[in-house]
């Protein structure tokens, strides 16, 4: 197990380096460069820009800039935002909480609901429930999220007036209830897609297991149907879902670009979009690295959990 972890860690570091090089290169290939925002200021002269470049070390060759950035990064210094001069970590820190509750709540809903729909769809295959769930999932997957968002806002905020149309809280009313009210709509809209995906995977995983011989063995032993389903079928069907869940981790903190924009939610997705717009390279690179780290971490955690749950891996 220790060897396995060490190996994975080593591979992860190499992967991170590759990702960062690709990200850094592409980012610097964008026309305009990091100082394009300053260049827009009519008060800026060419000499001013040169001085700025000098100050920020942007006149050095790209590989040197990368090495400098990577070295600091490894030491925990993620750089400073061009936009407001704050450390990148602080900027990310301000947005991460908003994303965490939005994505956390929506994923909790979608995993719980999706798992249930998936299992029921598999056990009642080709029933009305199964067909409805299948068609529903296809509809949810084919209609873009922003449309659901806008329709949701139109119905529940504009017409019915039940829920706020955007933002995370109303200034002056920063109670838990206030937060919750703001959370409901974006969280449900996001869940729609995730439930669809999750239920389809769960249905397939369950169907894979439900016809296996050990399930028939359990029935032949006289095990009650409920236990056959929960212990033998679902127990085995959840194994591949762990890996899938691990792959959701980067999303959990990476945020949802579209939904956050539609609902003016101050999360990571919007931060990424805004930072790109402002050519705020340090923040963009920071977010890129964060999502890369989370992807690797999510996979690693999933592998560890699977190996703990599955004796065939744990003991071999």
């Amino acid at each position: 197990m220790f060897v396995f972890l060490l190996n994975r860690l080593w591979q992860s570091v190499i992967l991170l380096i590759i990702v960062s090089i690709i990200g850094f290169t592409i980012l610097n290939m964008i026309p305009g460069g990091p100082l394009s925002q300053y260049a827009l200021d009519p008060g800026m002269t060419a000499a001013d820009l040169e001085r700025l470049k000098e100050q920020m070390g942007l006149n050095r060759p790209l590989p040197i800039q990368y090495l400098d950035w990577a070295w600091r990064m490894a030491g925990g210094d993620w750089g400073t935002s061009y936009r407001d001069g704050q450390p990148v970590t602080a900027v990310i820190g301000r947005h991460i909480f908003a994303t965490l509750i939005l994505m956390g709540s929506s994923m909790a809903i979608s995993m719980a609901l999706g798992t249930w729909i998936g299992i029921r769809g598999a056990t009642h295959r080709y029933s009305i429930f199964d067909y409805t769930a299948t068609v529903g999932a296809m509809v949810a997957l084919s209609i873009p999220t922003f449309w659901f968002g806008l329709v949701g806002i139109y119905i529940f905020s504009l017409q019915l007036g039940w829920l706020p149309a955007g933002n995370m809280y109303t200034i002056g009313n920063e109670t838990v209830l206030g937060y919750l009210q703001h959370l409901i709509l974006p969280s449900l809209v996001l869940s729609l897609v995730h439930v669809a995906v999750w239920s389809r995977y769960m249905r397939t995983a369950t169907l894979d297991v439900i016809n296996q011989e050990f399930v028939r063995t359990a029935r032949a032993k006289g095990v009650p149907e409920k236990r056959v389903l929960m212990k033998h079928v679902v127990g085995n069907a959840l194994l591949p879902m762990i890996t899938l869940a691990g792959m959701q981790l980067p999303q959990l903190l990476g945020g949802a670009l579209v939904t956050e924009t539609v609902f003016t939610w101050p999360g990571m997705g919007r931060l990424f979009l805004d930072s790109l717009g402002y050519s705020d390279y340090p923040v963009v690179m920071g977010l890129l690295m964060l999502s890369a780290i989370l992807t690797l971490l999510g996979n690693l955690i999933a592998d560890i959990v699977v190996s703990m749950v599955d004796p065939r891996i744990r003991l071999s």
Partner: protein, 547 residues
């Protein structure tokens, strides 16, 4: 052996009684009924064998008794009584309670019949928990007692093992322990030894018979193997296409079968032939294939961090094969016989040793050079379903190889049509797809494919193992005929000594990568020299060596 006739008068005392049972299949299947109007009784304390080829409806019957039929298949008429209970009329919950307590079942494939995520002990305990029997500590004690009873080593350690750690035979013992947990009066065994090696099969058969005698249990044993029937049956039911064609005492059915189907089935069971074939070539001839000190080692795991697993798949194997002769390579799973076959055709590379084919060492030959020789060495595969591309016509399957080697299509087509006739298919098969053919017919296509190149050497890897016995007999006859017509040499790989004795001039017995014994069938069967061969021969069901 006691053979009690299954008379209707005995019905009230039968442990299990099937009366005019008909189970219908969903529309669009080959036939409307899985089983039609079948009746038989299982006399208490007896072993009743139900024998039939694939599709005869024997497994459906077993599942109907357990109430485990899939929803699309239903019992349309008839009665199933277990003891005094009519299981057709009881509630689902009562039926559930009967399973495992009054009727237990064990299945064919012990590798997939156990939950991979639960320990062996937990799965045995579950039987008792599900029927509300005993306290947790009593259940545990009982489970360990059962593991002891089925002859598993270190039962208290075994209790905490996961199934993947166990061999096939051990898993089947666990299945039996599970089935016996609540001392059921009826045990249904659905081909419980089919997936096992012959020595393991012999042990499991003995175990089932011993337990049946000790507990005076009634066993309904489903099999396709008359050898197995001869080993354990008190009475026999023969099924064909969903109907019972014959039933009676084991002795009577085996010795004096009355129905033509039974006669045909018994006649096609391969028997050990103690007599050697008349070789097609003189013994002084130059060998076509000469294998010298062939070695192949599989390595898995990391060499860097220790824990490397090394398996000697083929360990210092040498033999000669004369033109027109057949060498049988016999062994149990893991003996290295299939690896040897793959090495001979250079489907994988050997570590060391020589394979001299027509005077050239092909083991060390680079792939580009060997390509020209490849047509001369062909393989016939085991699974006639997986080895033909379902999206290609038979014609394409047969001609694509020769065309790739530069034969003009028209010529290849003519060859293919002639070969189809030779392997017993009509020339119209050329334009059809594999799914339109039965397993036996597909295997004929597989043979035709190998013959397209006019090979000098055929390697047949378990080529008849997946087939029903009657089909098996036909394919063996076909191979024999082809050898006589073309003079091709054959390496015939099989786990079945009986089959090997039918077709081989010489047999090599493999164990753990080594050839432990080599000789003509007569010597291997009648006077085996090594202990392992003796064990193998003794394990063959339904055969008394030398008789």
């Amino acid at each position: 052996m006691i053979s009690a006739p299954a008379s209707p008068a005995a019905a009230h005392e039968a442990a299990l009684s099937i009366n005019s049972l008909t189970v219908s299949l969903p529309k669009g299947m080959e036939r409307g009924h899985a089983v039609r109007d079948i009746s038989f009784d299982l006399i208490p304390g007896q072993i009743l064998c139900i024998i039939g080829e694939s599709g005869s409806g024997k497994s459906v019957t077993a599942n109907a008794i357990m109430g485990l039929l899939p929803a699309s298949i239903r019992v349309t008429s008839g009665a199933i009584r277990v003891g005094a209970t009519d299981i057709m009329s009881i509630e689902r919950s009562e039926l559930r309670d009967m399973r495992g307590r009054i009727v237990s079942m064990i299945f064919q494939d012990p590798l997939s019949a156990l939950n991979p995520l639960m320990t062996v002990g937990a799965q045995i305990v579950e039987v008792m928990t599900s029927h509300g029997v005993g306290t947790p500590s009593e259940r545990r004690a009982r489970a360990i007692e059962l593991l002891t009873e089925v002859g598993l080593p270190e039962p208290s350690v075994m209790f905490n093992q996961y199934p993947f750690r166990l061999s096939g035979g051990q898993r089947q013992r666990v299945m039996i322990a599970m089935a016996l947990a609540l001392e059921p009066s009826v045990l249904i065994a659905d081909e419980p030894t089919t997936a096992l090696d012959v020595t393991t099969q012999a042990q499991i058969l003995k175990l089932i018979r011993d337990i049946q005698r000790r507990k005076n249990m009634s066993v309904m044993f489903i099999t396709h193997d008359f050898g197995v029937v001869a080993e354990i049956a008190d009475s026999v039911v023969v099924m064909e296409k969903g109907s019972i064609v014959e039933q009676g005492g084991a002795e009577q059915v085996l010795k004096n079968p009355s129905h033509p189907y039974t006669k045909r089935l018994i006649a096609s069971v391969p028997h050990m032939i103690g007599q050697d074939r008349t070789p097609l070539s003189a013994s002084g001839a130059e060998p076509i294939l000469r294998v010298q000190n062939l070695v192949k080692t599989y390595r898995s795991g990391s060499r860097l961090f220790g824990r490397e697993r090394v398996v000697q798949a083929v360990n210092d194997v040498s033999f000669d094969l004369l033109p027109g002769r057949t060498l049988g390579v016999v062994g149990e799973s893991g003996s290295g016989k299939s690896s040897l076959g793959r090495l001979l055709l250079k489907l994988m590379n050997s570590d060391s040793g020589k394979i001299i084919f027509e005077g050239q060492d092909i083991a060390s030959m680079p792939e580009e050079k060997f390509r020209a020789l490849r047509p001369k060495l062909q393989m016939i595969f085991q699974d006639p379903f997986a080895s033909l591309n379902p999206r290609s016509t038979i014609g394409h399957i047969l001609t694509v190889g020769p065309c790739a080697h530069g034969v003009p299509y028209e010529k290849a087509k003519a060859d293919a049509q002639a070969l189809l006739k030779q392997v017993g298919l009509d020339a119209g098969a050329f334009g059809r797809y594999p799914h339109e053919f039965s397993g036996g017919q597909r295997q004929r296509v597989g043979i035709a494919r190998a013959l397209m190149f006019k090979p000098k050497l055929l390697v047949a890897d378990e080529s008849v193992s997946a087939l029903d016995v009657s089909i098996q007999a036909q394919i063996l006859k076909l191979l024999e005929q082809i050898q006589r017509d073309t003079g091709v040499s054959m390496v015939f790989i099989t786990h079945d000594l009986r089959v090997a004795s039918q077709i081989c001039d010489e047999i090599a017995v493999m164990q753990k990568g080594k050839i432990v014994e080599r000789g003509p069938p007569s010597r291997i069967f009648l006077n085996p020299q090594s202990a392992y061969t003796r064990e193998l021969v003794a394990a063959i069901p339904g055969e008394k060596p030398g008789v």
